[in-house]
């Protein structure tokens, strides 16, 4: 077998019947030569459809007329092809190279990290900008209605006090254009406790408990400045968009295997985003307060007191009981409050 015409066994099917015929394949002058009992066929290599190698599977050769050959011995066939100067597509070579596969995994992880850290926040920001006003309002109204049914009850704060706070918030000079038109809604917080939460349309829910907890109006304004920051940066919408994009990706990746699992990565991502959004809202609040002659430290003071009952183990809010779309209710039991207080008090 040291003659130049290397040969390999194959099964030949003529495409008209399912009958298998044993043949031997060889190469001559860029042509595939097929010889069997009472059968000889030549075909230019270029005219053939050569299936890609796939591990130990047989190689399949399809002729232009639909006839086809099955070559069980891929190794010999590869040797045969190599002599003709045939080269597999790069993707095929990568698929079976340990280095390339490993490199693919590394790049893949890098891509995912990049998409998550850089692309998704920017994309979600752009999409959030484009959400029409009417939709934002509908979503916010629905969220408030849901909160009213499940958590909140009517405020017992005197109307005059509500009016006064509303007026003070409206007269705040806002550092960014376009400015947010905050719309205060007073409610009794119940198990939400001393808290404020912003909905994307500019609705800001203020609980009676928060007003009671504040030592002066500046503290309330500080909290509201933070909430206006959430609205200004469209955090509610961005959070919803980002976490649903992650959920969608997870559902696609885990696919048929588990739809239950798909919620987990999204939930994990939520914590990460809220941390970033808190920081942004605090930066905004600090600038807004500065522009209105209020020290950002005031917000830190009330934050500390808001955290206190949570640390004592009361007023906690059960996870997962949060209505959708997720309101930016980040004042409650957050481990990052300490970090925020340090930031607000400044150097």
């Amino acid at each position: 077998m040291n003659s130049p015409d290397l040969e390999v066994d194959a099964l030949y099917f003529d495409g008209r019947s399912s009958r298998a015929r044993a043949v031997r394949l060889s190469l001559a002058d860029g042509e595939l030569v097929l010889r069997g009992e009472g059968l000889e066929r030549r075909e230019a290599l270029k005219a053939l459809r050569l299936s890609e190698p796939l591990g130990r599977s047989p190689r399949l050769i399809t002729f232009p007329d639909g006839a086809h050959c099955e070559v069980p011995d891929d190794a010999t066939f590869r040797g045969l092809l190599a002599r003709s100067g045939h080269r597999d597509a790069s993707v095929v070579r990568w698929q079976f190279s340990r280095t390339a596969v490993l490199a693919s995994l590394v790049v893949l992880v890098a891509c995912l990290v990049l998409a998550h850290e850089w692309l998704l926040p920017r994309l979600a920001g752009r999409v959030a900008e484009g959400v029409p006003e009417a939709l934002t309002e509908r979503l916010s109204d629905e969220a408030l209605a849901m909160l009213d049914v499940n958590v909140l009850t009517q405020s017992r704060l005197p109307a005059a006090r509500q009016q006064a706070l509303t007026e003070r918030v409206l007269t705040l000079a806002q550092p960014d254009v376009p400015t947010v038109r905050p719309q205060l809604v007073f409610r009794r917080g119940g198990r939400m406790g001393a808290n404020a939460l912003a909905l994307p349309s500019g609705l800001i829910v203020v609980t009676d408990e928060l007003v009671a907890l504040a030592r002066n109006d500046e503290e309330i304004l500080g909290v509201l400045a933070h909430e206006i920051g959430h609205v200004s940066r469209r955090h509610g919408l961005r959070l919803a968009i980002e976490s649903s994009a992650i959920g969608l990706f997870a559902a696609w990746y885990l696919g048929d295997l588990s739809t239950l699992m798909a919620g987990v990565p999204a939930a994990l991502a939520q914590a990460h985003y809220s941390r970033r959004f808190e920081r942004e809202a605090d930066e905004f609040a600090a600038r807004l307060m500065g522009a209105n002659g209020i020290s950002p430290g005031v917000l830190a003071n009330i934050l500390e007191r808001m955290e206190a009952p949570a640390a004592a183990g009361q007023g906690g809010r059960p996870e997962g009981a949060e209505p959708r779309p997720a309101p930016s209710d980040y004042f409650s039991t957050h481990p990052l409050t300490e970090e925020r207080i340090r930031y607000l008090r400044g150097p």
Partner: protein, 347 residues
């Protein structure tokens, strides 16, 4: 050459290591091209599964072209976006889009079945899908509506019609598959599954209810607790259904379908065990979780291998005797249109 009593088992020779490389490289390229490469990736994946599937010493082959798949995917993406955009802008418009999609979907699914069968071959002969478009409307529109009207009671009826349509309307060369699937058998499978599911749900609800009532005096937090309980029950029941009831139903349906299938005088048999399938599903899920997703290609392969190798052909006569359809015959079936595009559906 084959005895009547012979059974020809399907063999699957794919190796996890090879598939892992294909999966990793193709996933990376898909991510880098924002999904466009997924059509090429699908072709490689199909080649891997088809060519590693062997019956009576010959492999299957896949002929789908990436561009046809890309067309179908683009179409599906546009339809999805059309729905999303209209849903955000105008609920009435979205309702209209849904009606249009429902009207077009059966036709698309019919095309998809044609594409898949037309692009599958064995021993050089193509498979063919002969199901009518009219029947597609019955199976993909009429019966699903009946399921809604009958409050789910017609679901097994739908599964029956779907399987008979899918398998019984297929052909291999000039030979035709017949699917003698009994409705009673399918109803029996789903009845058993339904009884088990209801029993399990009841037991879990009872246990959870008792546990929570004991651990908590039902006072202030009752509302939140009941919400969490409902959530817990939903999760546990979902997991039980997915991991245990689902595999048993799948196993029974596959066995029933293949048991009733014949190709000319040849018959088939499938011996999937529900217990084994459940074991594979659970361990696959655990593998994916603990490998942070890297086990996914191995899991897919393992499941496919088990399901394929459970099938055997009971030949009556020679497998060499199948013949191809003539050109005129194929034109009558509208086979040239089968090349056009593929819509991915998890049928």
């Amino acid at each position: 050459m084959d005895q009547q009593t012979n059974s020809l088992p399907v063999a699957f020779t794919g190796q996890g290591r090879d598939y892992f490389g294909i999966w990793a490289v193709n996933l990376l390229l898909t991510v880098l091209t924002f999904g466009i490469y997924s059509a090429w990736a699908k072709v490689r994946r199909m080649h891997f599964f088809y060519r590693h599937t062997r019956l009576a010493g010959a492999a299957f082959d896949y002929h789908g072209e990436p561009l046809s798949i890309l067309k179908g995917r683009t179409l599906a993406f546009l339809m999805f976006m059309g729905y999303q955009i209209s849903a955000e802008a105008e609920p009435m418009l979205a309702a209209l889009v849904v009606v249009v999609l429902m009207a077009v979907m059966p036709w698309l699914l019919h095309r998809s079945l044609c594409f898949r069968m037309h692009n599958s071959s064995y021993r050089g002969l193509r498979f063919v899908f002969r199901g009518s478009v009219r029947q597609a409307y019955v199976v993909f529109l009429g019966l699903p509506l009946l399921i809604v009207v009958s409050l789910g009671l017609a679901f097994p009826l739908w599964i029956h019609a779907l399987k008979v349509y899918q398998y019984g309307s297929s052909g291999f060369g000039r030979s035709e598959f017949q699917c003698a699937l009994s409705r009673v058998e399918i109803y029996r499978i789903y009845l058993v599954a339904g009884v088990v599911a209801i029993g399990v749900t009841g037991a879990i609800t009872l246990l959870l209810g008792l546990g929570i009532a004991e651990g908590l005096s039902l006072d202030e937090g009752a509302e939140a607790v009941s919400l969490m309980m409902v959530l817990g029950v939903v999760l546990v029941v979902g997991a039980v259904m997915m991991l245990f009831v689902g595999p048993f139903v799948e196993a029974s349906v596959q066995n029933a379908v293949w048991g009733g299938l014949s190709l000319g005088q040849h018959r088939f048999v499938s011996v999937v065990s529900g217990r084994r399938l459940a074991f594979i599903t659970v361990t696959n899920l655990l593998g994916i979780i603990f490998s942070l997703g890297l086990y996914r290609p191995f899991a897919e392969l393992r499941l496919m291998k088990y399901r394929l190798e459970s099938i055997s052909m009971l030949p009556d006569g020679d497998l060499d005797d199948f013949v191809a359809r003539t050109e005129a015959d194929l034109a009558a079936l509208g086979e040239e249109a089968a090349e056009m595009f593929d819509v991915d559906v998890g049928l």
